[in-house]
Structures are given as structure tokens and as C-alpha cells.
């Protein structure tokens, strides 16, 4: 490893130390940016000043860019400003109305629709992750087995980045805004082995595998109360047999009909409220799960 790379690595380590305790998504972005700048600047300074030593070239680049402490502070200052600017509008809105304030919370609705999407994409992710692993193992003995496996392993990382962007956009959970800086070198077999040994690859695969059962659970958790809410309205109107409401009302010596709507409407309303609260809660859990799997443990 040449000394310029050693100096960059030292800078990155110091930067990570300055950002200790900060949201991991911010750290990933800061490290990616620092890597991009130093790689380009060191190359340019080295070309225009070939007489300078690696240390002098690095010091010149660092004086233009900022020390790890300074760069970390730029990031934290800007992040704080942006967060305040973007969320101040939401904070100013006071959701009045006790437990009914959920109706004026846009996050509840976006979480509901995201849960539907979560289930659909979960099916795809699970199928892709399982198929990819099976195909990679099956083709492992063939000459094109490694390129095929590399394709699937690479796709897990790409899908995970797409997922993290979606989670940030919809669920407002801070996630890395660019892909983790990957420095995999060597021939295709060497790169494949690095992918195999990289914990992040397996976290992405595990995330995609778990998306189906979690997506199914989330979907049922929001659809069941919503279904009950709709059922409590429609059944008395349509007077259908074998519905939940009829099941309950079979205990009474009367049949359900329009006349029972004044009783079922309030319960239906409560189920709608419950759906929104459950959606919002599940949205938060989905965001935390994505962050725990795709960000918190990422090697930088």
C-alpha cells in the first residue's frame, strides 16, 4: 500500500473518531466525500508538483480541504441546519384533537402506503435473494459460476442502497445518501472473495430475506383493522351472510341491517384510527430495522 493511501486512511480514521456517536448514515456520507476529494486532489497535486513528497502532497491537500475535525464540524453544522429547515414546517404544525390528531399526521398515511409497498417489494427481495443464492451455489462448480455469483452479490448491495434511499424519502429516517465507498481490487475471483468476506454483503442478503416475513406481518397488521372497518360499514348495508358482524350479531335475536349502522359506524371509525396508528408505528419499526441492518454495522 503506498504512503498516500496510508495518509488518506489515517485521515479517514481520524474523521470517524471525530464523528463518533453521530448517526452512522452521516459518517458514511462524510467518509465517501473525503475519499473522493483526497483521491482526486492527491493525484492532481502529485502531477503538477512531482518534486513534493507524499507527505507534503497530502498536507497541501488537507490544508485545502480541512482537518478531520474541521470537516466533521462542517458536516454536523450543515446537517443541523438542513434538518431544522426541512422539519420546521412539520414541527410547527400542532396536531390538535387528542388521539384523533393522527388524521392530520401525513406520516401515518405515507407509512400506510409504504407498508403496502413494503410487502410487495418484500416478496421480490425474498425471491431474488433466495434465487440468487441458490443459483450462485449451483453454478459454483461451473466456469461462469463466479461472475454469476458476483452479479447477485453486487445486486444485493445495490438493492439495499435503493431501499435506504426509499426509507429516507418516505419514512424520514436519516440514511446514507450515497453508496458505501467500495475499494475492491484485483481480478474477478479476488473481488468475489472480498465480497464474500465483507459483512455488509451478508447483512444486505439477510435484510432482503427477512423482508418477506416482515412485509407480510406488516401488511396483515394494517389491512386487518382496515378490513374490519370496511366490513362494519358494508355488511349492514349489503346485509351479507357469514361476515364477522353477522357472527357477532348472531348472538342477538335480530338480523343485521341498515338499522345497525349507528352502532357499527363508531366502531368502524375506531378501527380506521387504529389502522393509522398501527401504520405509523410499523413505519418507525421498518425504518429502524433498515437502519440497523444496512447502516449501523457497516464497515467504512
Amino acid at each position: 500500500m503506498d504512503s498516500k493511501q496510508t495518509l488518506i486512511n489515517k485521515y479517514i480514521e481520524d474523521l470517524k473518531a471525530e464523528l463518533a456517536g453521530v448517526d452512522m448514515a452521516i459518517v458514511v456520507d462524510a467518509v465517501s466525500d473525503a475519499n473522493e476529494y483526497f483521491y482526486n486532489e492527491l493525484r492532481e497535486i502529485g502531477k503538477s508538483n512531482p518534486e513534493l513528497s507524499d507527505r507534503d502532497v497530502f498536507n497541501k491537500a488537507q490544508s485545502n480541504f480541512g482537518t478531520p475535525k474541521e470537516f466533521a464540524q462542517y458536516y454536523l453544522d450543515t446537517e443541523e441546519t438542513v434538518t431544522k429547515a426541512l422539519h420546521s414546517r412539520l414541527r410547527k404544525v400542532e396536531y390538535r384533537g387528542g388521539f384523533l390528531r393522527i388524521f392530520s399526521d401525513p406520516q401515518a398515511y405515507t407509512s400506510f402506503f409504504f407498508t403496502i409497498l413494503y410487502f410487495i417489494t418484500g416478496v421480490f427481495y425474498f425471491a431474488w435473494a433466495l434465487t440468487g443464492m441458490a443459483v450462485s451455489i449451483s453454478f459454483g462448480i461451473l466456469i461462469f459460476g463466479i461472475p454469476v455469483a458476483l452479479f447477485f452479490f453486487g445486486s444485493y448491495r445495490v438493492f439495499s442502497h435503493v431501499e435506504s434511499r426509499l426509507v429516507e424519502a418516505v419514512l424520514k429516517e436519516r440514511m446514507p445518501r450515497r453508496r458505501i465507498f467500495e475499494r475492491f481490487e484485483g481480478n474477478i475471483t479476488s473481488i468475489f472473495m472480498q465480497y464474500l468476506k465483507d459483512g455488509y454483503t451478508w447483512r444486505c442478503w439477510g435484510y432482503m430475506m427477512l423482508r418477506f416475513p416482515l412485509g407480510l406481518f406488516s401488511f396483515l397488521a394494517v389491512i386487518i383493522p382496515l378490513g374490519l372497518a370496511v366490513d362494519l360499514i358494508l355488511t349492514p348495508i349489503l346485509n351479507r351472510e357469514e361476515q364477522v358482524i353477522n357472527g357477532i350479531l348472531q348472538l342477538l335475536p335480530v338480523e343485521s341491517g341498515i338499522w345497525i349502522l349507528p352502532i357499527t359506524i363508531p366502531f368502524s371509525f375506531l378501527f380506521v384510527v387504529a389502522t393509522l396508528y398501527i401504520s405509523k408505528m410499523i413505519g418507525r419499526l421498518q425504518a429502524r430495522f433498515a437502519k440497523a441492518m444496512l447502516v449501523s454495522g457497516r464497515e467504512l
Partner: protein, 123 residues
């Protein structure tokens, strides 16, 4: 005090400069290129701006919808994130330029007035 004032002044103007550079560029630019372009604009007498300040500003502008980005692999080194100005960014830039011109006129007038007063007092 001098560096604090400089820092606070740069914080507001850098976003304006970055949007202007991207508005005038022929195509998307990555962070390092934008930093180099700003270095040329600053010249020898311009403000001492650390290039590290640019990157978090680029991300914040993207987050606010004023810029869009795409990651492209480079021939060597880390993949690069190329930024372009959005339509929303272009309309915001027009408003910011007006605000900047008004602010500059206000400050220039205040400084000119200050010079006149000082001359009268014989300072």
C-alpha cells in the same frame, strides 16, 4: 472574530455560488470539479474557503430538491456522484440572485455612507 465573520458570511453565499456553477455548467459535475471551479472563481484575493465545506452543502441542496445526483463509476478511484441543478433549483437561484443583489447594494451603500462620515470627521 475575523474568522467567525468570514465563516458566517461564506455559509450563506456558498450555496448561491454552487447553484450558479451548476446552472452554468455544460453538464453534471462531481464534488471535486465543483470545488476546483470555485477555486478559480475565488482567484487570489477571494475568500479562503475550505473545500470540505462544499460537500455537506451539496448534500443539503440535494435534500432540499435543488440538486439531483447520479453515481457513476470512475476509471480509477472511488465512484463519483455527479450533481445537476433541478428546475426547482433554477427558480430558487433566480430569487437568491435578487436577494444577493439587494443585500450587496445595502452593504455597499452602508460602507459608502460610512466612508463619507469618516471623511467629514477627518478620520
Amino acid at each position: 472574530m475575523k474568522s467567525k465573520f468570514s465563516k458566517e458570511l461564506n455559509a450563506g453565499t456558498l450555496s448561491l455560488v454552487i447553484l450558479t456553477i451548476l446552472e452554468r455548467s455544460a453538464g453534471p459535475m462531481y464534488g471535486y470539479l465543483i470545488a476546483k471551479s470555485m477555486e478559480k472563481s475565488a482567484g487570489t484575493g477571494g475568500p479562503d474557503i475550505k473545500k470540505g465545506t462544499i460537500y455537506p452543502i451539496l448534500r443539503s441542496l440535494e435534500k432540499q430538491g435543488l440538486l439531483s445526483s447520479e453515481v457513476e463509476p470512475s476509471d480509477s478511484g472511488p465512484p463519483r456522484k455527479y450533481y445537476s441543478i433541478t428546475k426547482h433549483g433554477q427558480s430558487e437561484l433566480k430569487e437568491w440572485i435578487v436577494i444577493w443583489k439587494n443585500t450587496r447594494e445595502f452593504v455597499d451603500n452602508a460602507l459608502v455612507l460610512d466612508n463619507i462620515v469618516r471623511k467629514k470627521k477627518g478620520k
